[in-house]
């Protein structure tokens, strides 16, 4: 079935490098599969973590990294596959069980308790007791100081409130907690995302310390320089499958990029003959105090403009600013030659710009309302007359757009909550189209939906631009970006890194630009 070249999948266990203290893996996951309704998140993946070594888990957004972390920490149960710890078969039926096996995860935003002290955070759930069964505060503080000392983090006051610490120090506390429960497997899920350069250096020292203590570390990051700096091994995931693993010292960056992006052609994108006209939307110098800076681009009539970048590159934030949901500090937005300054989503909708948000459940559908009320929600100003609803108009509007999108539902009065993910997405798109926009911004339009629904969404996008609409498509899926866009804007760290014409553009260029790797 899988006909693409499997780069560097090593069938035999790789020989440990000479510096490693142990040859046998501490944790082995093999043949792990996990599906959610309509989505195959992981298929037959394997991962091994070795004591005293850092393994980097690399993959695009949606490759299945987070799902795997949730399986390792007992939050999700795999549909199939085996887990073994120190060579013994194990199950992780709960977060508590994973904790008991010494598996601990340190997340991008640390999951600790802001209003408790450092010592309490370190010992929560396993605090030392006095002989009366009450918490032995003195021992707890002393132990906390000791743990922090051994980590060379003695500058952290064990009595300080956690909320008074910076993110880097919070990471240190999280690690101290891991040390205090004698964690043997430490998962770091994008720990550097919110850190400064100096703090990253401190974190790396800490990881070196964990290595020297014989901990097995899983390091998840999008940043290649960090991976090469700190990790010994790598495992690459793509579309929920493991496509390569090995030692980093034997593998170049470009080889890993190729593993990340090479893929099966399992999806045909619609043929389009783009008829691109004059600029419709021009953005220049758009800036936000914290999220993005000096964003400038043009969107032309009948064009699909792809926005690619890593998570956190600021793509959604730019789009939300254009859609009037967040404010900007500087910059101009011009629609059809007229400058606009949307102060609310209603302003943007009125002007002809709609934003279809990424989180379908939270930001898109209103579960509990029937389909037709969902579709008409942003168009109520048009379908109502002096504030009085006209249900017949709403129904007609909903019918015409849901039919165009081939929505499968028994009736338009059906609650959207009863629809499949793909059909919910169609309702969301119908709802925005019904506002008769000039520019439609789709943020991850096919994230987490099945192949059939993806094809329908893509087909409809092609139809829209053919009718003269202009589309901005924010996507982290390379095939989608390459298959649908006329031009691609790549963002990195809140700025536009490059804009490409999608002629002979290849995935590796995009990944390199997004990650900041020189060609």
């Amino acid at each position: 079935m899988d006909t693409t070249a499997q780069h560097k999948v090593e069938t035999a266990r790789p020989e440990p490098s000479s510096s490693t203290p142990s040859a046998s893996p501490r944790l082995t996951l093999s043949g792990i599969s996990k599906s959610f309704p309509g989505v195959r998140a992981l298929h037959n993946v394997s991962l091994s973590l070795y004591p005293g070594q850092v393994t980097a888990l690399i993959g695009e957004n949606g490759a299945g990294k987070s799902t795997l972390v949730k399986i390792m920490t007992g939050i999700y149960q795999p549909d199939a596959g085996d887990i073994s710890i120190d060579g013994q078969a194990a199950t992780l039926p709960s977060a508590h069980a994973a904790f008991g096996h010494g598996i601990t995860a340190i997340h991008q935003e640390t999951v600790l308790f802001d209003d408790l002290s450092v010592a309490e955070n370190i010992f929560l759930g396993h605090a030392p007791r006095t002989r009366f069964g009450t918490i032995d505060w003195r021992t707890m503080r002393k132990n906390a100081r000791e743990v922090l000392e051994t980590m060379r983090a003695g500058h952290i006051d064990a009595d300080a409130r956690l909320k008074d610490l910076g993110i880097a120090n919070k990471h240190l506390v999280a690690v101290a907690r891991a040390m205090s429960i004698d964690a043997r497997i430490v998962i770091m899920d994008e720990p550097t995302a919110a850190l400064s350069m100096k703090e990253i250096e401190e974190l790396f020292l800490l990881i070196e310390f964990l290595k020297s203590e014989g901990k097995a570390v899983l390091f998840i990051s999008h940043k290649f320089d960090e991976i090469y700096r700190i990790a010994d091994r790598y495992t690459v995931f793509r579309d929920g499958e493991m496509v390569g693993e090995g030692l980093l010292k034997d593998t170049g960056q470009n080889e890993i990029v190729r593993m990340m992006v090479g893929r099966n052609v399992d999806h045909i994108f619609p043929e389009r003959k783009p008829k691109i006209g004059a600029p419709v939307l021009s953005v220049s110098g758009l800036s936000h105090p914290t999220e993005f800076d000096e964003i400038g681009f043009e969107l032309r009539k009948g064009e699909i403009l792809g926005f690619y970048g890593l998570v956190g590159a600021g793509r959604s934030e730019v789009m939300q600013a254009i859609a009037g949901i967040t404010r900007t500090s500087r910059g101009t937005i011009t629609l059809d030659g007229k400058p606009i300054a949307p102060k609310s989503a209603a302003d943007s909708i009125e002007a002809g710009i709609v934003y279809v948000p990424e989180e379908r459940g939270k930001q898109g559908v209103v579960i509990g309302l029937p389909i037709f009320k969902n579709v008409s929600l942003p168009s109520l100003a048009r379908t109502s007359k002096s504030g009085v609803l006209r249900l017949a108009e709403e129904f007609a509007l909903a019918r015409s757009y849901t039919e165009r999108l081939d929505l499968r539902a028994s009736s338009l009065s059906q609650d959207v909550g009863t629809l499949s993910g793909g059909n919910q997405q169609k309702v969301v798109i119908a709802k925005w189209l019904a506002t008769a926009p000039k520019v439609i911004i789709l943020d991850e339009p096919t994230k987490g939906i099945d192949i059939g629904s993806k094809a329908a969404v893509h087909g409809f996008m092609a139809e829209l631009v053919a009718q003269g609409l202009s589309v901005i498509m924010v996507s982290s899926e390379l095939p989608e970006i390459l298959g649908m866009s006329d031009r691609v804007v790549v963002m990195r760290e809140g700025r536009i890194a490059a804009t490409y014409d999608n002629k002979g553009l290849d995935a590796e260029t995009l990944v390199r630009t997004a990650a900041g790797i020189a060609a």
């Binding site: 309704p37 989503a345 209103v366």
Partner: protein, 325 residues
């Protein structure tokens, strides 16, 4: 979802019928329309108040100040009537609506502009409005003999077999039904309760909508202020003290989710009627007020259990989608 609402309201209706049946076994005349009409009339004020509270709760907010608003507005119109008996009752009702609107708008502005949780805002204004009643009245009462006959009798006039008070309640019920099902603001109220984030993206101004619902509950509080004072013919600082909890209880029994987004006009009306029947019937059949409170309390808990079951069913759908995303 719609079917589920119906389902829940039908259960409540069945409960009310059962309750009337039970009472009839002890007091045969109870189910007689001639007897039920006064029960309805007696519950009218609670029904009106429950509807005002319902729109607030639907938006994930709460208005604890309604009873204090009622007390203040009632005192002001009673004092006006005592001082200037010539002011016609419709004008006094208009003044009551206006005062209520101002008090509600204060709540609404604090919630909207300062982004303070409504439970905190209205807990504060609950005390302030009652305190203000003391300030305007100097602690004095306005008694029946100070009120004009028109002031007292307006709501008692029979029209087509029902007193005006009942007609006002029916009018308010119809108005709320139309607003909730046939107007843009009604749809917005519902939508922001179900999913505030999605509503923002759809161009609904969540803050302004919340402001509007507090204005509505304020006007209702003001209207109820006149109706209450002219019904019980006494205005004092103690009027409707603690009654905000009865209003919320009526909403909860009526299947309006405290978490917002779920609830209907029919539910609020039936919830109020349930409480009204209990408080009217139990004394008649010689059941102590203790049992009255126990039955109301049981009904509240039962309603919350039913609500929680309904919401859990909905929650699972969201969870599944969240996982798939």
């Amino acid at each position: 979802m719609k079917n589920f609402f119906k389902y829940r309201e039908i259960w409540l209706l069945a409960g009310i019928v059962l309750l009337i049946g039970l009472i009839s076994t002890r007091f045969p005349g109870f189910a007689d329309p001639a007897n039920l009409r006064p029960v309805f009339n007696d519950t009218s004020i609670l029904m009106i108040l429950a509807l005002g509270q319902m729109v607030v709760i639907l938006t994930r907010s709460i208005d604890l100040s309604m009873a204090s608003n009622l007390c203040f507005t009632g005192m002001v119109v009673a004092m006006l009537n005592a001082a200037h008996p010539a002011i016609p009752v419709p004008a006094l009702i208009a003044i009551a609506l206006l005062i209520g609107l101002v008090l509600g708008a204060i709540n609404g502005l604090l919630v909207w502009r300062l982004n303070i949780p409504s439970i905190v805002v209205t807990l504060g204004t609950l005390t302030i409005y009652r305190g203000a009643t003391f300030v305007v009245s100097g602690g004095a009462w306005v008694n029946a003999d100070q009120m004009s006959p028109d002031f007292i009798n307006f709501q008692r006039v029979a029209f087509l077999g029902l007193p005006v008070l009942s007609w006002i309640a029916l009018f308010v019920i119809a108005l709320f039904f139309l607003v909730m099902t046939r107007t843009q603001i009604g749809r917005s109220i519902h939508a922001i309760g179900v999913n505030p984030t999605a509503s923002v993206y759809a161009g609904i101004d969540v803050g302004r909508t919340k402001f509007i619902v507090f204005c509505i509950s304020g006007m209702i509080g003001g209207l109820a202020g006149y109706l209450w004072i002219s019904r019980y013919v006494i205005a004092s600082v103690e009027v409707a003290n603690g009654y905000e909890l009865n209003i919320i209880a009526a909403c909860v029994i009526g299947g309006i989710s405290i978490a917002g987004g779920i609830g209907s006009v029919g539910g609020a009306v039936l919830g109020a009627l349930f409480l009204g029947i209990i408080s009217n019937a139990l004394p008649v059949i010689n059941i102590s007020p203790f049992w009255q409170m126990a039955i109301s309390g049981t009904a509240i808990i039962l309603a919350v259990v039913l609500n929680a079951r309904g919401e859990r069913r909905q929650g699972r759908i969201i969870l599944r989608k969240a996982e798939a995303a």
